[in-house]
């Protein structure tokens, strides 16, 4: 992960650079149904991340050779806007976003009842408007809301959450400085109902104990994010959130 820097990411009181505790999430705001022309959509603000997701389909998959006669294919596209980072990002898919699109597609495929829509494609567009570390997990969270909004049958909502290691301490939900100058980052996608993991990546070095610790921390936080997802979905229809 990045280079060693002189900045201290954890102060003497054990607080992080933005004043958070090691197991504290950044503020998260979710909104559903923001893109009128899409079948389903969602907007997520996660700390400094601003992410929009839109779902189209299920619709007949073209080109025809990508069709699967038994199930729907899920095509997620993760894309970063050129203005989403400090230094202008060259627009278009690069190695990183192609990889993320692939792993996000696979994570989403695992929750959708794909066998209900043979020969079709479900397109999920994830646009990162502003990036501040942890965009893939915020993107997965937004995609999950957009899929539910599109009326696509799913086994569970899916929650993205990251943990990592900074200055030798295992912390939850890294921000940009921690991501750049920390030691490790572990993004995860979790199915909160069963506690299954749909995506697990690690960038950096951690011991087995630290990784287990980080995963448990993310699991714990997933429950909180799950509650926010339910609130965002039900709140849109004036439903009883606590039900």
């Amino acid at each position: 992960m990045g280079m060693k820097a002189d900045i201290r990411l954890i102060d003497d009181n054990g607080l992080r650079i933005d004043g958070r505790l090691p197991n504290q999430l950044r503020p998260i705001r979710m909104e559903v149904g923001v893109v009128k022309r899409a079948d389903g959509s969602a907007y997520v603000e996660w700390g400094g991340n601003k992410i929009m997701a839109a779902v189209y389909g299920p619709r007949e998959a073209y080109p025809k050779h990508v069709q699967d006669p038994n199930r729907a294919i899920v095509r997620a596209r993760y894309n970063m806007a050129s203005f989403s980072v400090d230094e202008r990002k060259r627009p278009g898919p690069d190695r990183r976003s192609i990889e993320l699109s692939k792993v996000i597609s696979e994570a989403l495929t695992s929750v959708i009842f794909v066998e209900k829509f043979p020969r079709t494609a479900i397109d999920v567009y994830i646009e990162v408007l502003q990036a501040d570390a942890g965009t893939r997990v915020a993107g997965i969270t937004a995609a999950s809301l957009a899929l539910a909004d599109a009326g696509i049958p799913m086994r569970d909502l899916i929650v993205g959450c990251a943990a990592g290691k900074v200055d030798g301490v295992v912390v939850l939900d890294l921000n940009k400085e921690e991501d750049n100058y920390g030691e490790a980052d572990v993004p995860m996608a979790i199915l909160p109902r069963t506690g299954e993991i749909a995506l697990l990546q690690m960038d950096g070095d951690m011991t087995y104990e630290e990784l287990t610790n980080a995963m448990e921390m993310a699991m714990e936080a997933a429950r909180e994010i799950y509650r926010m997802e339910i609130e965002a979905l039900k709140g849109r229809y004036g439903g009883d959130v606590n039900e």
Partner: protein
């Protein structure tokens, strides 16, 4: 929308359903427990627990009357968009006219709207539709609007009460396809009122006492 309306129980995908009954539509079972597959409304009917989705595409069912739009012509058939994940072919044998080979364009051309019936669906999702039945025809003139197919029953109402009310108040002719396409024909003012009323039904489909509110709206609009 000033006073608080009573809202039906809303469930999210993967939410456990703790209601007595057999699993019905929109519900899946894992380890003996029922879970919702959709973001939808909980509906218990005749001992079955169903989840009615709040949105989603139309899944064709045999026997459904649908409204479709011609998107392509071929020598022996038309290709019809019925708002489902797949286009439906309409074969020349399934129309009430005698069509010569290659002469399909004389009867229905691209952009025409038809009222048709789903004659067959297979497990691959392929759909066939027919117009060979009394009442099925080409729809000329009028307006087309789209709503979520899951909300079609609310637009029709119990025993057709809602749709009859819309027709009575506005003197419009209305056809509601099971696929969420609605055809409206009548005076311009009538059409505008119907569209407003249907949009209102669509937005408030998950609340109780909808028919009364729509009635109130129509009475206000008539003045």
């Amino acid at each position: 929308m000033e006073e608080k309306k009573r809202v039906r129980d809303i469930v999210v995908p993967g939410e456990e359903i703790r209601v007595e009954g057999k699993p019905g539509r929109g519900v899946f079972v894992e380890n003996g427990k029922m879970y919702s597959a959709y973001l939808g409304i909980l509906d218990v009917r005749a001992g079955y627990v169903n989840v009615i989705p709040l949105s989603g595409c139309y899944i064709p069912k045999k026997g459904d009357k649908v409204i479709g739009k011609i998107v392509d012509l071929a020598p022996m058939n038309w290709v019809v968009d019925i708002n489902a994940p797949y286009y439906a072919p309409l074969h020349v044998n399934d129309v009430p006219w005698r069509v010569e080979f290659g002469d399909t364009g004389r009867f229905l051309s691209i952009g025409d709207v038809i009222l048709a019936k789903v004659s067959n669906v297979n497990e691959l999702g392929q759909v066939w539709i027919t117009m060979k039945e009394p009442g099925l025809r080409k729809l000329e003139g009028g307006h087309i609007i789209k709503i979520a197919p899951s909300k079609v029953p609310r637009v029709i109402g119990k025993g057709g009460s809602m749709i009859q009310m819309l027709k009575d108040y506005t003197n419009c002719r209305i056809y509601v396809g099971q696929n969420g396409m609605i055809w409206i024909s009548g005076s311009p003012d009538g059409i505008i009122t119907v569209i407003k009323a249907i949009r209102m039904i669509e937005n408030e489909a998950h609340t109780y006492g909808l028919t009364d509110r729509i009635k109130e709206f129509l009475e206000r609009g008539e003045e």
